[in-house]
């Protein structure tokens, strides 16, 4: 009987901890919107939730002559190990926000070639595996 009560109590406590640890990627992606640099018009926000995946990926058609900005917002310090990489339609990597061990929180990409681009978020030493991102553009 004692063991059963301890078990039930443990389940209650662990359930509560699970709620506290839930990823609030929606809020983080919304927070990223005003952090787009001046002059950039908001296009989309993206939730970054690792879940059971190796990476999180979205795609968007970028247009020649337009400059795009993608930023990252995380709950912890800076980008919390979240790295954003950009791949062209042939999967050539055209940008990555981690360079020489430094995590950059935003990429500005002036597009020279119209096509589908893949926006990929990976986790490098992340603690929460949770973040948000915003995409903006300007001509």
């Amino acid at each position: 009987m004692k063991k059963l009560l301890i078990f039930v109590f443990s389940v209650c406590v662990l359930s509560t901890m699970d709620v506290i640890a839930q990823c609030n990627a929606e809020n983080l992606s919304t927070q990223c919107i005003p952090k787009l640099a001046s002059g950039f018009n908001f296009l989309k926000s993206y939730k970054i939730e690792k879940g059971g995946k190796e990476f999180v990926e979205y795609s968007y058609v970028f247009t020649k002559g337009t400059q795009y900005m993608i930023n990252i917002c995380a709950a912890g310090a800076n980008t919390d190990g979240i790295v954003v990489s950009l791949f062209d339609s042939n999967r050539n990597k055209v940008a990555s926000s981690k360079v020489q061990g430094q995590f950059i929180s935003a990429i500005a990409y002036p597009c020279n070639t119209t096509g589908i681009y893949y926006i990929q978020y990976t986790f490098d030493g992340s603690t929460s595996y949770c973040g948000g991102s915003a995409l903006g553009f300007k001509r």
């Binding site: 039930v8 968007y60 062209d88 990429i107 990409y109 020279n112 589908i116």
Partner: protein
């Protein structure tokens, strides 16, 4: 005995805590939805959602037009008075997209009086599709009266449309999202075709039209998922495939070169060293424009 009852009660309370009380509300909402919801696409809604979110916002074309110095011309747009013609969910969703593009165009050019008319039509269509709650008309109207609020206005209207698309997908109504985006794209291409015809020597306009080839392929893919289950979307797909034949005469060549970067004020600024060329003639523009006009007339009349 008392301990057994308490234990049973604790275990039951855990099970109730885990169950979602929202399920019955959600189920009731879904049952109340319009009966013309498509029976189902031939591919998962998640895949459809992935393709949907890759399609660019028509706002990009409106900004391009404004910054190229082209003058505002309300004659390019679909009259807001036509809203009374749209009685089916199919026509409502398509023209919600059309009017969304028109609203963005009026916003960019700060034509507030026209913008207000489009907002009223959008609200009417959105209400008809049970998504009116996403349009904060009073807020938008207030922002539209002051040119200093342009950034906020564009942000709110973009967010509203993004939320609508997300909502439709979560409610298994992605077919309406597809129509909304198709209508919006068609209207944007129509506007730029009209500008392109008026400025046949403008290479940038021609190239912008030619680039739509990439987006059209995604739109055709999305419509194809519904061709078995929705005769209206099947018909629209046939029209779009006809348009695709004209775009096949447009050649886009791409040369990849590794990009470089520099960090400016904490932002990684990429230098894209790849190049692309878009071969499209004024005759191509005429042909594409004519087909776009035919399809557009079908959906807006």
């Amino acid at each position: 005995m008392t301990m057994r009852i308490i234990t049973a009660g604790l275990i039951l309370s855990i099970f109730f805590a885990c169950s979602s009380s929202k399920k019955s509300e959600e189920q009731a909402f879904l049952e109340g939805l319009d009966t013309t919801k498509a029976e189902g696409p031939t591919i998962s809604e998640e895949v459809i959602g992935d393709i949907l979110q890759s399609i660019p916002a028509p706002l990009e074309i409106s900004v391009l037009l404004k910054e190229s110095g082209k003058k505002y011309n309300v004659a390019y747009l679909n009259s807001p008075d036509n809203v009374s013609k749209y009685n089916s969910n199919y026509k409502k969703a398509l023209n919600l997209g059309v009017y969304g593009t028109d609203l963005g165009y009026t916003n960019i050019y700060e034509q507030n009086q026209d913008g207000i008319k489009y907002m009223a039509s959008i609200k009417e269509l959105a209400d008809g599709l049970n998504i009116g709650q996403f349009f904060e008309i009073e807020t938008i109207g207030r922002l539209a009266t002051n040119s200093k609020n342009l950034d906020s206005l564009l942000l709110i209207t973009t967010q509203n449309f993004n939320r609508i698309n997300h909502h439709l997908q979560t409610q298994s109504r992605a077919n309406l999202s597809v129509l909304l985006l198709t209508g919006g794209w068609l209207e944007a291409v129509h506007v730029i075709c009209e500008v392109g015809k008026a400025n046949p020597d403008n290479k940038e306009m021609r190239e912008t039209i030619g680039e739509q080839k990439v987006i059209l392929e995604n739109i055709i893919l999305l419509l194809s998922f519904y061709k078995e289950s929705d005769p209206n979307m099947a018909s629209l797909l046939t029209d779009m495939e006809g348009l695709k034949k004209s775009f096949e005469k447009v050649n886009i060549t791409y040369t990849y070169k590794e990009s470089t970067f520099e960090i400016v004020d904490g932002v990684m600024v990429i230098k894209d060293n790849s190049t692309s060329t878009i071969d499209i003639t004024p005759q191509n523009v005429e042909e594409i424009s004519s087909i776009i006009s035919t399809i557009r007339t079908k959906i807006t009349s």
